[in-house]
Structures are given as structure tokens and as C-alpha cells.
């Protein structure tokens, strides 16, 4: 089996490198960089162990209480609900935008992906103001239907709704890029073997989505696990909320660290569930095959419901929040509020988001190649380690990096470099999920063929593998870009002194009820994230021109 990995081995200095080589049959040029990435990304875990070891008896007394179990159960209930709901929204939307003849598919793709960029404290605030018992919806309904109060959204319903709307794009993006890359010949084979269109969808197309949906669900679950902004505003007590309470009120780092380790354990359990679900299946064809544009299926009489579904999603997930934000800006302007200059934060946001996305993409390649082409216990451990940052609240990751930078890398402290590294630590799994699933769908013998035909290892990587997995890399870059745009705690703590982004500007204004200013910055986050997303989609559209005619139903 030839692969990126073997390509890299040739480029590297030969010879056995230490004992680690025995744990994997991957070449050192692959496993060494992968190991470095894994170790850097697991730093927060080291910090938590150090701090927990220093925690007093109080910490353990706090941990082993009935209350802790109750909060864990509440958290699990939220995680399961949000994950299932996200898959139920994302899979149909992915199929409609990639495989059906829905008009303006790229427009709908961008609209459906954008909620990802709304910071969760903004989403929490918007949901509260719009759907609260006496929020905007009630105010609108009162004159028509005489509704004086809506049922309370606080607690579980509000938190689940908000987090689902914020995080279903984690499943949508990988599912779309997986559908785009699926080998249409597999479906042709299914049809020629006598399966109808629905059976093919059920037995080929959807199962092939498995890894992408699984990887995306994992991100949704972990995002829900570590969210603070939305759950605190919608008043649902989760484990992350409990950790923040420790930071907020006790300043007891030992207790906060011990609780964070429990969160890591919970995340590990979620990872295990995903690993079992993923199993050992292969997701590329074995025959010669060819990359071809997936066929689009005509919706026929299903067109109207499909359009209605997309419009409803756009209205709830995007137009609604944007409307509330625009209303705040308008009200502020009418009331003579001064808006602040947003150019500097805007430029900073775009700069760090782009740098973080590129850095994460580069770091993800060796890990993805190791995991996909050389599966072993070693690869498994490294892959799991890279989830550390995503499984922890941003504040905990930020504080842990303060610890390492101050003690071991003083010159890096409060520099852009460390901030970018923090973003990579936080968001790496979003990138890895996209790249890994893309690579899993590339048959290794395509790379073999390039080598046989005289391409050098590097040329094979650049000319064959990277173009084939580009949709995956691009969707990973898009994801990390959007996530970085809205990141708050690490930006506040680790940014160079005086460094402002749109997210910090939004937070600074919103926390003191300067709603007009906060809304202005939040709207800009969505716009600034929407433009690159649109460009990315357009480019991808051009890269694979619609060569095949749609299939008639």
C-alpha cells in the first residue's frame, strides 16, 4: 500500500528512530511529525494532571457528591439530544444541497453553514430576547392571538435548541464534502444489481456517509459538552457550567482542574462510542473506478417541501438571529448611541482566523495520513490525544497554555504565535475530521499508479493526493476559520496585550449591555465569515464542473 506516508518516508533521512518505531509500521517521516502534533495538543491534559495533583481534600469532597452525578446526567442528556437533532437536520440538508436539483445549492450551502459562526453567548442572548416568555415573538403574537406569555424556554429546551442551531453545521460540512466525493459508480453498481433509487440511498449513499456523519457528530457532542455561553444564559446547568462556577467564584484551580479531568473522561467515553460506530469498515471502492461528478436527483413533487425546509432553516438559524442583531443596531442608532470603530478588530479577526486555519491544515496532514494509512494502537493514541483541546472549555485550555508558556517558553507568551497555537489546540479535531474522511475515500492504489508512472513521492503528494482530498481540506479550513472568528476566552487571555477581535469587541459590549455595539460586531463576524465561505464554495463548484446530466426520477 503506497500512500502519503510512504511518500514521506522517501523524503526523510533513513534508519530506525528509537523504540517508538516498533509501535507503528509507519515511516518516521510520518510518525515523528504526527507525534509532535499529538504531544503539543495534549499539553492541557498535562496541566490538568499537575493542578489536580496539587488539589486539596476539598476538591475530592466536591467531586464525589451526588450533585456531580446529577450534573453529569444532565450534561449527557443535552449532548445526546443536540447530537441526534444535528444529524437529523444536517443529513437531509447535505443531500439536498449536493445531490438534488434544488435551485441555488451554493447559496443554501452557505446559508445553512453560517450559524456556526455565531458566538454562543450571542446566540444565547438572541434566543432569550426573541423566544423568551415575554420576548419579541410574544410581543408580535400578543396583538394577533392575545398571547401574554410564552412557555419558558429556560433550561433544557432553550439550551438544546440553541446548541443544535449552532452546531448542526459540524455534521453538515463533512457530510456535504463526503457526498461530493462519493464515487457515483458505486451507486450505479447498486442500481445495476437491481436496487431501486430509495434502496440505493438507504444501502449505499447513506452508509457511505457514515464516517463523515460520525466525525461531525463527535464535534457536535464535544462542542455541546464544552459550551458555556449558551447554557449559562439559557440557565441549564452542565458540567462546563460547574467548572466555570469554580473559576468564577472560588479561584480554586485544583477543583477546576479536577472537574475538567472529569470532562475529559466524559469526552473519552464519547470518542469511544464514535470509534465503535466507525468500526473497521473501508469507505473507498476497490475496483478501478473514476472520480466523476455525483449525479443530481430531480426532486419533482418534493421540490416545494424541500424549498420550504431550506427556507425554514434559513429563517430560524440565520435570518432570525440577524434580524434581532440588526434591530439592536437600528434601535441604538435611533437612540443616538455611538458605534465604535470596528476596522481593527475586523482585520485582526480575519488575520488570526486565516492563520489558524492554515496552521491546523498543515498540522492535520501527518496525523490524518498516520491514522488512515497506518492504523495501529500508536496512531489511535495520537488521534485521541488531539481531541484534548476540543473536549475542554476554552478558558481551561487558555490557562493551561499560560502555564506552559510562562514556565517553558517565556518569549512566546502573549504573542500572536502562541494565540495561533491555542486555536490549533482548540480546533484541530474539526480539521482532522474533514481531512481524515477525505483521505479515507482516496484509494491507495491511485497513489501507487502515480508512482508507477514515474512521479516522485513529493509530486505524487502535490499532484495526486492533495487535489483528491482538497474538498476535505477546504471544508476543514472553512470550519477552523469560522470557529476562530468567534473564539473568545483564549483570545482574551493569550492575545498580545491590547489585541482586539470582533469576538472580544462583541463580548466587551454585550457583557455591559451595550447591545447596539455588540450587535454591530456580531453582524460583522457573520459577514466576515460568510464571504470566505462563499468564495470557498464557488471555487469548489468550479473545480468540479457539472459534467453529468441529472438523472430523471
Amino acid at each position: 500500500m503506497v500512500s502519503i506516508a510512504r511518500v514521506m518516508r522517501v523524503a526523510a533521512p533513513g534508519g530506525p528512530i528509537g523504540r517508538l518505531g516498533r509501535w507503528t509500521h509507519a515511516p518516521p517521516a510520518l510518525w515523528v511529525p504526527a507525534l509532535v502534533v499529538g504531544l503539543l495538543l495534549a499539553l492541557p491534559l498535562v496541566y490538568l494532571v499537575i493542578r489536580t495533583a496539587g488539589a486539596g481534600d476539598d476538591a475530592w469532597a466536591l467531586l464525589f457528591r451526588w450533585r456531580t452525578v446529577m450534573i453529569l446526567l444532565r450534561t449527557v442528556a443535552l449532548v445526546v439530544t443536540v447530537t441526534v437533532a444535528s444529524v437529523l437536520i444536517a443529513v437531509p440538508v447535505a443531500w439536498l444541497t449536493v445531490r438534488s436539483n434544488l435551485p441555488w445549492p451554493r447559496f443554501w450551502s452557505v446559508v445553512a453553514a453560517l450559524p456556526l459562526v455565531i458566538p454562543s453567548f450571542v446566540a444565547g442572548l438572541v434566543v432569550q430576547v426573541a423566544l423568551g416568555p415575554r420576548g419579541m415573538l410574544q410581543q408580535a403574537l400578543e396583538p394577533i392571538l392575545g398571547v401574554t406569555e410564552l412557555p419558558s424556554i429556560y433550561g433544557f429546551p432553550g439550551a438544546a435548541l440553541t446548541l443544535t442551531l449552532l452546531s448542526y453545521p459540524y455534521v453538515l460540512l463533512p457530510a456535504q464534502s463526503s457526498l461530493r466525493r462519493q464515487d457515483p459508480l458505486l451507486e450505479d453498481a447498486s442500481r445495476s444489481l437491481g436496487h431501486g433509487r430509495r434502496a440505493t440511498l438507504r444501502r449505499v449513499t447513506l452508509p457511505m456517509l457514515g464516517p463523515a456523519v460520525g466525525a461531525g457528530s463527535l464535534l457536535v457532542a464535544l462542542y455541546t459538552l464544552t459550551d458555556f455561553g449558551a447554557v449559562s444564559l439559557l440557565r441549564y446547568e452542565t458540567f462546563t457550567w460547574a467548572i466555570f462556577v469554580q473559576f468564577e467564584s472560588a479561584f480554586d484551580r485544583g477543583v477546576a482542574a479536577a472537574l475538567s479531568l472529569v470532562l475529559v473522561a466524559l469526552a473519552a467515553a464519547i470518542l469511544a462510542v464514535e470509534a465503535v460506530a466507525r468500526g473497521r469498515a473501508r469507505y473507498h471502492g476497490v475496483g478501478p473506478g473514476a472520480m466523476a461528478e455525483p449525479r443530481r436527483i430531480l426532486l419533482g413533487r418534493w421540490m416545494a417541501p424541500a424549498l420550504a425546509l431550506m427556507a425554514a432553516l434559513g429563517a430560524v438559524a440565520l435570518i432570525g438571529p440577524m434580524g434581532v442583531l440588526a434591530y439592536w443596531v437600528g434601535r441604538g442608532l435611533a437612540g443616538g448611541q455611538e458605534l465604535i470603530s470596528v476596522w481593527e478588530p475586523l482585520l485582526n479577526s480575519v488575520l488570526v482566523a486565516a492563520l489558524a486555519a492554515i496552521a491546523a491544515a498543515v498540522a492535520s496532514l501527518p496525523v490524518a495520513a498516520l491514522v488512515v494509512r497506518y492504523p495501529s494502537r500508536f496512531a489511535w493514541v495520537i488521534e485521541r490525544a488531539t481531541y484534548t483541546g476540543f473536549a475542554l472549555p476554552g478558558l481551561v485550555v487558555a490557562i493551561s497554555l499560560v502555564f506552559f508558556a510562562v514556565n517553558l517558553a517565556r518569549p512566546l507568551y502573549q504573542t500572536l504565535f502562541l494565540l495561533i497555537m491555542a486555536y490549533v489546540v482548540l480546533f484541530f479535531p474539526a480539521m482532522l475530521a474533514a481531512v481524515r474522511t477525505a483521505l479515507a475515500q482516496v484509494r491507495p492504489n491511485v497513489e501507487d499508479a502515480a508512482r508507477t508512472l514515474g512521479r516522485s513521492p513529493i509530486a505524487t503528494l502535490v499532484q495526486v493526493t492533495l487535489p483528491l482530498i482538497w474538498p476535505g481540506i477546504a471544508s476543514g479550513i472553512g470550519l477552523v476559520f469560522l470557529l476562530t472568528m468567534k473564539e473568545l476566552p483564549a483570545t482574551l487571555i493569550l492575545g498580545p496585550i491590547g489585541f482586539k477581535t470582533l469576538a472580544t469587541a462583541t463580548w466587551s459590549a454585550a457583557s455591559e449591555a451595550f447591545f447596539a455595539r455588540a450587535a454591530m460586531s456580531a453582524l460583522l463576524i457573520v459577514l466576515a465569515a460568510g464571504v470566505p465561505l462563499l468564495l470557498l464554495r464557488l471555487r469548489m463548484g468550479r473545480a468540479t464542473p457539472a459534467a453529468t446530466p441529472p438523472v430523471r426520477q
Binding site: 462556577v245 484551580r253 434601535r331 502573549q414 449591555a513
Partner: protein
């Protein structure tokens, strides 16, 4: 850089006026306040090399304090750099940074944040400390209060009038208030108020009150602003908050915003007045500039800023509070020494026992 001030901003209620730099020599800076006919002389000795910036960690939001820091920047001519984040996050950061911290000044939202890093602070000069009353500064002289905020009951004006509200906090334990109120148990000011209750009422009575309120289904909110918002919207009838958030909402939503503040006439811990404060790090690389900054915050100009812009209570004598606030003298403040408000840990344990905190 060392700095001494003479004839400093003394007396009279000065209008909030921008200080204007009229002369800037090697050793003397003259600040003239435009609206008030008064000349203030500040002596500044600048050492030959002074590239060291002043680094402030501010737990107070940029939207609240950036204007006054800008003013300090232009007045002092110093390179002032500010890191903004939540007070707890900054306290945790300072603890991790330890001696390597780049910070000179910690400007915190509440005494709890300053208390968490007390071992890292070094005492302020007596001259600065003595400008604020004893109840508004650290007993060890490690930090000084910069502005005051009062605990109030914010209430919905469509549903209630002040006549409907009780005299003190015990009134809210009546079953007629079931499910109608909100509080922020994770908020530092709230916890300080509970610590005040323990000092005045004793632990048993405090626990009794907490249990009664909890049993009365008081809503748990993450902080003050959502409570004021929910009160204005009529989602709840009222809540226990700090006074100044209301004025932000009035500025944002207009006078029609349906909530106002109520100071409990019966006094007690429900009428506690607390401070936001600032301290100087023991490791400050630029201590003279740090002292100059705290000095500026405690000057007439600095105090006027907080009085007129953030609607907090000025702490330095002679500076008047905003006219729209209930005067500090009219609030029935409990007599609690600051040292009695130190036991936050005990309060948190009590809140946990009562099932109010996790």
C-alpha cells in the same frame, strides 16, 4: 519614572472636564481644567530611558473604562497597554503567571478578584489609600476601591410600585413572591452580599433565608444583566442586582424600559455598598506609572468619570454622585467592616450546601 503631585485637584465640585496639557517640560507638566478656573501643577521626573509600557489587566469591561484610560494616556503621555477579560479569568491568569506576570496594575470588578491574588499585590502608598473611606479599601492596604456600587432590588414598573416591595430581604421569603424573582448566585457581588448577611445575621439565619428564597423558586441567572433584562421585559417581577446595570439599559432602550431600582429602606445586607478596585502587582516593572494610574483614577477627573459615565458612586470626598442616583448618604447601609466580607469560601460552601451552587 517618579511622580509627585502638589496642590492636587483639591476642593470644590469640578465639572467633568478634560484635562488639557498646556505645557510639558522636562520636569513640569501643567494641567488646566477648562471649565473650572483652577490650575493644577504636577511634577514629573522622567528618567532618561523610559520605554517600559504600563500594563493594566482590566476585569472591568473595555466599553466601560476605555474612555478614562484613553484620557490617562493623553494626560500622562505614557504607553499604556490594557488586557481586558473577565475578573475571574484574569485572576486565574495572574496566579499562573506568578512572578513572570507582565502586569503592573490589576483593575478588578470586585474585591473577590483582588482578594484571590492578594499575595501578589504590594501595598499602595498611604497617600492614595487615604483618599477613599476605610470601608472601601483593603484592610492591609493592598488595593483601593475606585468606584462604589449599591445592592438594590430591580423591579418591573408595570407590575409593581415601590409600595408593593418589602422593607428588607426577609420580605421576599413570603410565599406571595414565589417564582417571581431572580438572583445571580455565581456573581461575586451577590456572594459578597451573602457574606455580609453572615456577618450581620449569623450563619444560621443566613442559611434559613437562603433556603426560604430557594424554596420560593427564585430564578438562577448567570449574572446581573440578564436579570435586569428579564425584569424590564416582564419575564420576572424583580431581582437582586447591583444598581448601575439599570442605567445602561435606560441608555440603550430609553426611559420606557419598564424597570427601576429600589433601595431597601430597612437596610441590612440587602443595602450593602461595594466597590470595584485596583491594586499594584509586587512584580510591577513600572511601579511609578502604576501609582500614577491609580492616582489618576482617584483624582477628581477619574472619579467624575465613574460618577457621570458608568453611574457608579464616586468614593473620593468632594466628588458628587450622578443626580439620578439615590445619594449614598440616603442608603441605609449596614455597618459591616470589609474584613468581615473576606470569607467568600465559607459563603460558597453554604451556597453549595443549600443546593444553589453546584
Amino acid at each position: 519614572m517618579s511622580l509627585t503631585r502638589r496642590a492636587l485637584l483639591r476642593g470644590g465640585a469640578a465639572a467633568a472636564a478634560l484635562p488639557v496639557l498646556t505645557a510639558c517640560g522636562e520636569s513640569e507638566v501643567v494641567i488646566k481644567e477648562v471649565e473650572v478656573e483652577r490650575v493644577v501643577t504636577v511634577t514629573v521626573t522622567r528618567p532618561p530611558s523610559e520605554a517600559q509600557p504600563l500594563v493594566i489587566y482590566s476585569g472591568r469591561s473595555e466599553s466601560l473604562v476605555d474612555p478614562i484610560i484613553q484620557q490617562f494616556r493623553s494626560m500622562s503621555g505614557l504607553d499604556v497597554q490594557v488586557k481586558y477579560a473577565g475578573t475571574p479569568a484574569l485572576a486565574a491568569t495572574l496566579l499562573e503567571e506568578g512572578d513572570a506576570s507582565p502586569a503592573d496594575v490589576f483593575f478588578a470588578q470586585d474585591p473577590g478578584g483582588l482578594g484571590a491574588v492578594e499575595s501578589m499585590l504590594s501595598p499602595l502608598p498611604e497617600e492614595l489609600l487615604s483618599r477613599v473611606p476605610a470601608w472601601a479599601r483593603s484592610p492591609q492596604g493592598l488595593w483601593a476601591g475606585i468606584s462604589g456600587r449599591a445592592r438594590v432590588v430591580v423591579y418591573n414598573t408595570d407590575r409593581l410600585s415601590p409600595a408593593d416591595l418589602p422593607d428588607d430581604l426577609w420580605g421576599f421569603t413570603d410565599s406571595s413572591w414565589r417564582g417571581r424573582l431572580g438572583w445571580p448566585p455565581t456573581n461575586a457581588s451577590f456572594q459578597t452580599m451573602v457574606t455580609g448577611m453572615r456577618a450581620v445575621w449569623g450563619d444560621d439565619r443566613t442559611r434559613e433565608w437562603l433556603d426560604a428564597m430557594h424554596a420560593n423558586e427564585i430564578g438562577i441567572y448567570p449574572k446581573n444583566t440578564p436579570i435586569v433584562a428579564a425584569t424590564g421585559a416582564g419575564e420576572i417581577d424583580g431581582g437582586l442586582v447591583n444598581h448601575y446595570y439599570l442605567h445602561r439599559f435606560l441608555a440603550e432602550e430609553g426611559e420606557s424600559f419598564a424597570a427601576r431600582n429600589y433601595h431597601l429602606p430597612g437596610g441590612g445586607p440587602g443595602s450593602l455598598v461595594m466597590v470595584a478596585g485596583a491594586g499594584i502587582l509586587g512584580t510591577a516593572a513600572n511601579r511609578p506609572a502604576a501609582e500614577q494610574f491609580v492616582d489618576f483614577l482617584l483624582s477628581t477627573v477619574g472619579q467624575q468619570y465613574f460618577a457621570s459615565t458608568t453611574h457608579e458612586y464616586p468614593l473620593v470626598e468632594g466628588v458628587k454622585a450622578s443626580r439620578i442616583l439615590t445619594p449614598l448618604a440616603d442608603i441605609n447601609k449596614p455597618a459591616i467592616a470589609l474584613s468581615d466580607l473576606a470569607d467568600l469560601q465559607g459563603t460558597q460552601a453554604m451556597l453549595r450546601e443549600a443546593g444553589i451552587l453546584p
